[in-house]
Symmetry: C2
Subunit: 376 residues, 2 copies
């Protein structure tokens, strides 16, 4: 019995509570597991920015274009899992109470194919709704639907918890998202998912941590409380560091600034990528999360979105800091759209994480091996 | 029977609905009425900005100082009515769910003396709450009370409707505020109060219109719908314009910019005032409200707050545009605090509106007669 199993047996109630973090939704979803070929392939959809300018032609047109990007990537890659890496919607451009509908459209790409997914919040996801100036003109405020729970229909946007609750209720058991521990609020998308081993189906062979990096209705930051939560989760689920770990959130931490390739230069080794077109726009502060990660050799990589003009991976301490690729036709920037793929292999005790970028036109580039190591 | 009474008799249900606008609260309040001496004196408290920096010494100290200003003015003037002219609180500096408590502290100055009052919203009243950076540090988020109706305690500030509902529930029958017609939302503080004649106790001798000039959770504007609402109210309640009318809201309309005394010069006639220390910060657009008012000779004056460094009255068309006086020790500016007084006389068919500014130290200045006319 491995140490992880021993701890599971020893701490019944607590374990149930911890596992529940990965079992959100109206019914208990099937566990995530490496394929018979020992693979687990994850597609990252970042910065879709659905719902911009619904009252014009170009808003709905770019949403349709975003649908197309995701369809092309999913058709080409046939992944086991999708991570929606924040800014699914541009809530501050959505007129009243429609953020959940646009959010649902974003995740429907995975749902329609029966692919399980999870989401983290970006800074645009729970911003206040748009107030079109026309609503104060003779045109007036159109009839709007006020959710029953919203006192006075304050038009302040859809709170994170409500967005997530809607996702879970419509997810058909495929959403693996969670509102996370209440003590970490206002950060909501904080949870751990485990991917079970092909060879030892009761043991996790990969842990995926999802964190809410803030923004929108509160500052862009990962709190000290979140860092402490990560610490305790990791210590409990993976005390000896034998299980490799990947981490996902939306806004790059300040550590990304340190490792970024120099602007206007080609991306050169050890970094790998194709876009380095802007400065890293980091979180407002660093409250210990990076320190917690950098000191765990089992943590292999962090994946973020947020910067549409960056798609590189660079090493930092013993892990990799990666940007995803701007997937949506919403949001700033005209760089061709695509998605980062993370392909994890569990073969005969040999664990590797390979990554590349799949473009809407079918091409791939920026292949990189993020880790290749034996675990005993 | 005056025309107003005829229309009252003719339109039972509608009248009841209209009168209800001025009869908000858990129980029907006593009607407002001119005194036996034919006077109705209103004190305007503007820009109190309660609740700033509660975690320091200076925040609570300045709130106590604001208490003192109001007490001094009320003791000196003994008014019949108090108008709280917006920015009662600085909600964007209040940490979580306390805006109603600070709002209540503001109106308690009138309530404790048994003086009826009403409130309009300023741009700072329903801003999102403060997120102190310390909450993301090891100090963490303190235990906070989430209102039962708030899904996930989103910390987005207290919505206008909730602030107003709290005021009415705690008002002890003295609050004459109202959440206004729902079709005017997001603007909430839209309602009419009538002050009954001393001589003909069933007839109003003064109408006071209160409007929400926006800001905070939506743009700083009076909508076309509000202007149309004013129009229909005025036409119904005062079809022949025989009843004088006063108007109150928070943010100056763009018309204030037109009549403002030139900066850095002394305030000279026809304007009257003592402070002209900054530019008018007007609403974002003009959607017909000023046009509606300027074409009604019965409208005598508009009173606004918002600009702490302005306290003048200037004529515009056939009415007066007046600033109140910065009352609170919260908010920007170090000009001595005070309050504008509006003293209305109904004497033998002779109606007059006089105004002056009462300072915290007991002095008065800037006396001006805003109207003096006979109505038949």
């Amino acid at each position: 019995m491995r140490s992880w199993q021993r701890r599971l047996s020893a701490a019944g109630a607590l374990v149930a509570a911890v596992l529940a973090l990965g079992a959100a939704g109206p019914r208990s979803p099937a566990p995530l597991q490496f394929s018979p070929a020992g693979r687990f392939k994850v597609v990252l959809f970042a910065d879709l920015h659905y719902g911009e300018n619904a009252w014009t032609d170009w808003g709905p047109a770019q949403d349709a274009a975003s649908d197309h990007v995701m369809a092309a990537v999913l058709d080409a890659e046939n992944p086991d899992f999708v991570v929606y890496l924040g800014d699914l919607v541009t809530a501050n451009n959505v007129p009243v109470a429609n953020a959940s509908l646009y959010w649902d459209r974003a995740v429907s790409a995975a749902r329609r194919r029966g692919v399980p997914w999870s989401t983290v919040f970006g800074n645009h996801d729970d911003m206040p709704f748009e107030w079109p100036p026309e609503w104060f003109s003779p045109a007036g405020v159109p009839p709007v639907h006020c959710p029953p729970a919203a006192p006075g229909c304050s038009f302040r946007g859809t709170p994170r918890v409500e967005l997530m609750a809607d996702e879970l209720s419509r997810g058909g058991g495929l959403s693996r998202s969670s509102v996370g521990p209440r003590e970490l609020w206002p950060g909501v998308s904080n949870y751990v998912l485990q991917v079970l081993s092909r060879e030892r189906p009761r043991d996790p062979a990969l842990l995926m941590y999802f964190l809410d990096s803030g923004g929108g209705s509160y500052p862009e930051v990962i709190s000290c409380a979140q860092a402490a939560w990560f610490h305790s989760q990791a210590r409990f689920l993976n005390p000896d560091g034998s299980i490799p770990e990947l981490v996902f959130w939306h806004i790059p931490s300040t550590a990304y600034v340190k490792v970024a390739p120099k602007a206007t230069t080609e991306i050169s080794k050890p970094c790998v990528g194709s876009l380095n077109e802007e400065d890293v726009a980091p979180q407002a502060a660093e409250w210990g999360m990076m320190d917690a990660l950098a000191h765990r050799p089992s943590v292999k990589a962090i994946f973020v979105g947020h910067n549409h003009g960056l798609d590189w991976c660079c090493p930092y301490e013993k892990l990799w800091l990666c940007f995803a690729r701007h997937t949506g036709h919403g949001g700033y920037g005209d760089w061709p759209r695509g998605a980062r793929i993370v392909d994890i292999s569990e073969e005969e005790e040999h664990f590797s994480v390979n990554s590349w970028i799949r473009m809407e036109n079918g091409s791939t580039h920026s292949h990189v091996t993020l880790t290749s190591a034996r675990f005993s």
